[in-house]
Amino acid sequence: MGAEAIARAIDLEKVYGQGEAQVKALRGVSVDFGRGEMTAIMGPSGSGKSTLMHCMAALDRPTGGDVEIDGVPVRGLKDKALTQLRRDRLGFIFQSFNLVPTLTARENITLPVDIAGRKVDQEWFDRVVDTVGLRDRLSHRPTELSGGQQQRVACARALVSRPAIVFADEPTGNLDSRASAEILSFLQNSVKEFGQSIVIVTHDPVAAGYADRVLFLADGEIVDEMVDPTADKVLERMRGFDATGRRS
């Protein structure tokens, strides 16, 4: 799978704080995220999922190890290069507050492209918009959209600049099951149709079932993984974790 990796963590470590208050959020995580795959990350609260995402997405600097995006090591990049990397190669979807309230849905979607000063690829834009089903909502502002719609706009934004990989941290955390299903199937489609690479963090076994692979994180380490998961298989695996209890 190594050659196929679009992003990889190499012995990634993240330590917060110092001395007594020190927290090891990541304890040497090495993992490859496959190109054209949707990878789900699961794990109990505080296991380091968000930390891993932030480090992978060049939003935070690891205290040890390195991250490579599409073969480019992130360590040592200056702020300017990091900004460009995020703008051109990475897409993000957060749990909440994903949109700029002063801009319309359309403007929010094209924001990364606009900021980069590039022309929007109209054909691609249309395809993305149609896939998320937002055509008739493009001129609305975020406050005029439902939570699910807002999240779909965020998805469209993450895809419109054709990033190498999209990171989504609990993108469905605030949504009901129907809206979640819409978002997830949209993400799944973009993997199938456009070959998009996606990493998503979730607590929901159903959501994990959409992925091609699930990684299980506990106490800052990858403890297990599952290929071609289904919701049931994931749920079962999680029960198993609960039964054995947490290591510490």
């Binding site: 932030h54 939003l59 935070d60 702020d79 300017k80 900004t83 460009q84 995020r86 703008r87 051109d88 993000f92 957060f94 507050f97 994903n98 949109l99 700029v100 309230p101 002063t102 801009l103 403007e107 094209t110 924001l111 990364p112 606009d114 900021i115 980069a116 000063g117 934004r157």
Partner: protein, 842 residues
Amino acid sequence: MFKITVKGIFTHRLRFALTALAVCLGVTLVAGTLVLSGSITRTFDAIVEQTAAGTDVQVRGAQLETTAVDGSKQREPLPLSLEKKIEAVDGVARVAPDMSGTAILVNKDGTATRNGGAPNLGFGYDPDDPTIRITSGRAPEKKGEVLVDESTLELAGLAVGDTTKALIQNDPQNVTITGVFTFGSSLAGATLVLLDEQTAEATWAPDGEVPSFTIGADDGVSQETLRDRIAQVVPAGTEVVTGDVVYQEQKDSFGTAIGFITTFLLVFALIAVFVGAFIIANTFSMLVAQRTRELALLRAVGASRGQVLRVVLGEAAILGLTGSVVGLGLGILLAAGLQAVVKQSGLEITGGLPVTVSTVVVSLLIGLVVTMLSAIFPALRASRVAPIAALRDDAQTPPGGVLRRGIIGLVLVLAGFATILPGSLGDKPQWALVGVGAALLLIGLLVAAPWLTRPVVRLIGIPYTALYGTVGRLARENALRNPRRTATTASALMIGLALMSSVGVFASSANASVSDIVDSELTADYVLSSGGFTMIPTTVADEVTTMQGVTSVATIRSAPVQLADGSVFAIAADPRAMTENVKLDVVAGSLDSIDAGDVVVSRTAADDRGWKVGDTLTAEVGTRKNQSLTVGGIIDDSQALNNPNMIVPLDLYAKTVPAAQQGDFLLYVKSDGTNTAALRSQLEDVVKPFLVVSVQDGDEFADAQAAQINSLLYLIYALLALSVLIAVLGIINTLALSVFERTREIGLLRAVGMSRRQLRRMISAESVSTAVFGAVLGMALGLVLGLVLQRALVSQGLETLSIPWLTLAIVLVSSALAGMVAAIIPAWRAVRLDVLKAITAD
């Protein structure tokens, strides 16, 4: 609860510091003005006290209504022979006839010894005068000898025993400095030259008449007793007053003048405070909005409305007090600085920096009350926050509609126009209407500003949205996000700039009018004019008349004329000479009637007072009462003659003005045009001994008049600059708070790839939008007010409308630059935000 108040301030220290600075700057100006006027008052009190020290009783002629050239009320002259009679009264130790006028010493560089515009005074030396003490040399004994005060001597760079030239009552002569004296107090920059009594009498009382006598009492004789005794020997109608009365009168008259300066400065100080109020109000509304959840939490855990109100008002009180105390301190420094500046213009202030209880109380109270008042609405809003708001995510209350404010504002603006136009466009300006109209326009614009924000800011945004694309659009939308906030921030700037531009239009129109009128009215080649308190000696005109190439000389004298209902500005001149040098439009009657002993009045004066040709007026002229004057003609107002209300015959002037006070204030010279350059140098030679008389051609004359307008203009600009500075602080404050509010959004923008430079640009463009919005509103209002002012004053000679486009353009560009500067700190803070922390912040 007090703990929460203090903590609130501490947590938001930067914005509190900026807001306190806004309070502080206003208070600085208030306190500075009060301290300065206190020290000026003390300076003059000391002088008055010293002057009055040797005066137990004063005998003076009945007061006339006319004012002398130096602005003092004239008195019926008293004969010198009265001195003997007074001396004979029991209890009189000394009697000194008051003989005084101007005396200018030539310094070692050959120019006039003077301190800016401060007066150059000459007196007769009375050896018995207790206020004058010779410190070195001896008293003057004959013509050509002078006694000079210490600071004058120092200023002149001369020493006792030196010989120099002096201009004594317009008579140039050689003098020897026989001695130096101290007066016992500062002279506030005036120079003092004393002559021996005989020479003084010949110079300042050539007709044997003086305005008053100063009398010193024997030991043990009270002022009142002596006054009553003297009153019995002087002719009826003569005033006899005690030294205490004289002291009080002089103190009061200085007080009036100082009061005028104080009021003038205080107006600007209060404008600054008013502008500061907007900033304070804005800061508090933003803080309350941002802290809605915190305040709601307080309410949820049981705090009463009153307690929440007190938390916010408590913050305002601490802020207001801090700002005011610092402002008071800075105000004292400002006063010291202003003293140094004023000294440059000749007024030496030696009164120290008196910080009276009232100065402290007024300054602190103004700062405190304005802060509390500005915070009251936000505080009320805070107290109305429902406890449930603590639980809601979107705690910020969305700004209400601005349409209602737009409509109300528009109505007010229309009402303003409806008031100001009839007030200014009629034949005679009705200042009450103009004032009310101007206030309505200002208030209307302030009220309507939020409604105007959207369209105007969109317009302003066109260039940078075109330039920066999305970043520009984001900036524009940020400025429009909360129109009220943007409008309030811009309004603060609007006020200062509206005043600046209206004053600018007024001054520019005044300049243009003066030069237009001088161009079209003045036919003379040269104008001789004297500076300040002195006049051109009558002999100059005689000498100029005989010069080669001179075809006409018009002497213009200032005639003190007082009517029953007030004084008028009158000149005395020969009609023929006048028309040869100045174009005059006769509206009715004729100019030649002056030859027949009639007077000619200006059209404005005639309109104001309903005079017609043939009317007879009773007036005091100079020192003579009950002169009857017949109106022989009416002319258009003449700027070239300095806009006199009335022209009287020279004969009347000669008869009514004491010889010591006679002289020209303007002299027009027309030549045959053959050799004007040579004529000029000849003229300059003639006036050279008179030190302060200048020779100007038409352009220079117009420029000199414009220069007076300009120096006042610059003073007003400088005073308004403080208000503008406060407004810029407001922009910084608003932006800093907005950046703070939008932490998450900024994090998001950075996460999706906005570079630091783009972020900086976005905040800068938002700031520039706000600043330019304020500038546009301010200049629009200023233009309207300036225009109205010009229209209203057409009949007063402000005939040419001139809009200072260049100045306005500079103001606009400066506002944009100020906006950029204001954005530096907020942008720096935004750029410094950690992307990850920003996104996850709450």
